[in-house]
């Protein structure tokens, strides 16, 4: 029996195929049942998201299991199996472990470090458990994969920095103000993205929210949506003096906020920083306000630049995460190997011990007058012989499992000593 993973993902398959093969829970249950019933797999877990469809399993002939699974899927969706076949990858044993760890740790995701994949893998595992297709191998594999994913998340900053413009703006605000609790926000204009950024700030504790717009009714409407206060557009400068963060997203063709306005406003603020998030194109805030002390002004391109830097940061962190996953995978594989040979070692010892005690008993039966010392000596002698003989085979078995050839060795030992079925 071999551990394998087989499937396709965003790198190997176009979205046109992926969207057809991503299936709902009921269908997954059916497929898991199918795989189990045909007897091609001992255990199975199927992960199905919009970016990947993968079958994890334990099977004698993994190729057959893979064929059954994807034939089933293709038939269900009415796609030619032949068109999917070249897109599939398969990994066995150690490589399958590595793959599972990388997927759960979000290293194989389209956006490295995105947090959803771990939840999706957990759901897939829970579903397989409820279908009773999870055995000891997949159980240890997935619980370990979850632990590794958690470790990657806490020990690297792979998922730490924002990869969307609006979250990048929130992060910048935090780098200026520390906490956002009680920081006031002024939203100028009614752009969708401005509203989204304002919502993110509110989620982080920003309060109160002021909204202004050239159209008074629009300002009131927006204020209601954000649980804020509408401010007449004419009072823009007054509002600027009071708030900490300004989000602008108007459709104006010329800057709404000039350097002079901000310069005048800053005087009364006694050094409280002012952060402009200018999402409008053309821009609403004169770029030169950024040169004023304590004023930080980011336009949409600046924010995109921050996002790019964040993504580069994620990629750098991903390298550290890869090293961590590799370490964990190697450790897990060697343990898995030990797990593989241990039952054989145990039954080998039991078998020999049965023979030894049986023979000692027979010998003692032939020596009715044997003293306690003689009995003890015979016992010690036989034990010593057995241990000496068993030492090499057991060491070899352990070594073979670490070298990845445990399976053939255990089979040989079973044959040689007539140990019967090994599991």
């Amino acid at each position: 029996m071999a551990l394998f993973v087989s499937g396709l993902n965003h790198r190997t398959a176009p979205v046109a195929i992926r969207e057809q093969l991503a299936v709902e829970e009921d269908k997954l249950r059916e497929m898991l049942g199918d795989l189990q019933n045909t007897g091609v797999v001992g255990e199975a877990v199927i992960i199905s998201t919009c970016n990947r469809v993968e079958v994890y399993g334990v099977a004698d002939v993994p190729g057959e299991a893979r064929a059954v699974a994807f034939r089933h899927l293709c038939r269900y969706r009415g796609i030619e199996v032949a068109s999917v076949e070249p897109l599939l990858y398969t990994a066995m044993d150690g490589d399958a472990v590595r793959h599972a760890f990388r997927v759960a740790a979000s290293l194989d995701s389209m956006m490295i470090g995105e947090p959803q994949i771990l939840g999706q893998v957990k759901d897939a595992f829970a579903l397989a458990q409820s279908c009773e297709t999870v055995g000891p191998t997949l159980h240890t594999l997935f619980t370990q994969a979850f632990a590794v994913a958690k470790k990657v998340r806490t020990e690297t900053e792979i998922g730490r920095h924002a990869v969307s413009v609006s979250f990048a703006a929130v992060e910048l605000a935090k780098k200026i103000f520390a906490g956002l609790t009680g920081k006031s926000v002024l939203l100028v204009g009614a752009g969708k993205m401005g509203e989204l950024a304002a919502k993110h700030l509110v989620e982080q504790g920003a309060f109160p929210i002021y909204v202004t717009n050239r159209t008074w009714a629009r300002a009131q409407e927006m204020a209601r949506a954000l649980a804020g206060t509408a401010v007449p557009f004419a009072d823009l400068a007054t509002a600027l003096a009071a708030v900490d963060i300004v989000i602008t997203s108007t459709g104006a063709t010329a800057p709404v906020i000039t350097r002079q306005t901000v310069h005048d406003v800053m005087h009364g603020r006694r050094g409280r920083p002012l952060f402009f998030i200018d999402i409008a194109v053309p821009r609403d805030v004169q770029a030169s306000v950024n040169t004023l002390p304590d004023v930080y002004c980011y336009d949409i391109d600046d924010l995109k630049q921050v996002v790019d830097a964040n993504i580069r940061e994620r990629v750098r962190e991903a390298q550290r995460a890869e090293a961590l996953v590799e370490r964990e995978a190697v450790r897990f594989i060697s343990r898995l190997g030990d797990v593989e040979v241990i039952p054989t070692i145990v039954s080998l010892r039991e078998r020999i011990e049965t023979i030894r005690t049986g023979e000692v008993r027979k010998a003692l039966a032939r020596l009715p007058g044997a003293s306690a010392e003689t009995q003890a000596a015979m016992d010690a002698l036989s034990t010593a012989i057995v241990n000496k003989i068993l030492h090499t085979p057991i060491t070899k078995l352990r070594e073979s499992s670490r070298a990845g050839t445990g399976r053939s060795w255990t089979e040989m030992v079973h044959e040689l000593f007539g140990l019967g079925r090994k599991t």
Binding site: T154, E155, E157, H161, L172, K174, K175, I176, F177, A178, R270, G271, P273, N290, P293, D294, Y296, Y298, D302, Q305, V306, A309, N310, E313, R320
Partner: protein, 269 residues
């Protein structure tokens, strides 16, 4: 025994500095933990060495300028460990520990406790003078580190190109608060320390204004810090300007100690 303990302390600080810098670059949690451990270890040895020195000499371990500097370094490390915890600024060590190294290496090359104290130094006030000045200096070391971090982070945010420091350093508001608080902490200690020193000098040498390079520079440093504190409290100074003043004040403080250590004068070397 005391030199051994002190050398162990310096060894701990050397390791801590290396690890803290490695953490600044690598940001690995376990490296940070090792750095924190090395810092604590070094500080414990430092504490023991100060205690042993005090017991051996039968006086506070503040009998010479190098001893006072060593004491200041001890307070710096204590403050650093506390601030790091309090403000959650894990990279603080990378900025403070190199200064601690500079402060302690001088004393490590020449064993402490060998300086015979002048008979005129026999008043209890001298110890208070030295202790208070040491605490003040320690607070200003952190003040300096906070200002450096503020300027680095401010530059990153103005330039809009997030680099290594953007990710590693805390928020501007946090750093500004740190520099303000360390200034507010250090200033009274330095002030009283200097006043006591002057009064004691008047009593011992007959004049409050005996010329001494260290004393002269210390007045300059004090004036700069006084101006900064006044600017902050009354005129709303903050941020970049306050940070620049922290740098200037620290430069004056370095000159003060340098003058005491290397120029002939009443503070001796």
């Amino acid at each position: 025994m005391q030199p051994t303990l002190f050398n162990l302390a310096v060894l701990g600080y050397v390791c801590a500095t290396g690890l803290a810098l490695a953490h600044l670059v690598q940001r690995q949690e376990f490296v940070y933990r090792l750095a924190a451990l090395a810092t604590l270890g070094g500080w414990i040895f430092h504490t023991l060495s100060l205690v042993v020195l005090a017991v051996q000499q039968g006086r506070p371990p503040l009998g010479s300028l190098p001893e006072a500097v060593s004491m200041a370094a001890w307070v710096v490390v204590l403050l650093e460990m506390w601030v790091e915890r309090q403000y959650g600024v894990k990279v603080l060590g990378a900025f403070v520990l190199p200064i601690v190294l500079v402060l302690t290496l001088r004393s490590a090359t020449r064993p402490l406790g060998l300086v015979a104290i002048e008979p005129t130094l026999g008043s209890a006030w001298i110890w208070v003078h030295i202790a208070l000045a040491s605490i003040g200096i320690a607070a200003f070391v952190l003040n300096f580190a906070g200002a450096i971090m503020y300027l680095l982070q401010e530059r990153q945010l103005k330039a809009k190109r997030p680099g290594a420091f953007y990710y590693r350093l805390p928020a501007l508001a946090t750093l500004d608060r740190l520099t303000y608080r360390t200034l507010a902490l250090g200033f009274p200690f330095l002030t009283i320390g200097i006043i006591l020193g002057a009064l004691w000098a008047g009593a011992a040498w007959g004049s409050v204004f005996t010329f001494d390079p260290l004393a002269a520079f210390s007045f300059v440093a004090w004036a700069i810090y006084a101006a900064t504190l006044a600017g902050r409290a009354a005129a709303g100074w903050h941020g970049r300007r306050a940070a620049y003043f922290a740098l200037i004040g620290f430069a004056a403080l370095v000159l003060t100690l340098g003058a005491g250590l290397f120029l002939p004068g009443k503070h001796g070397s």
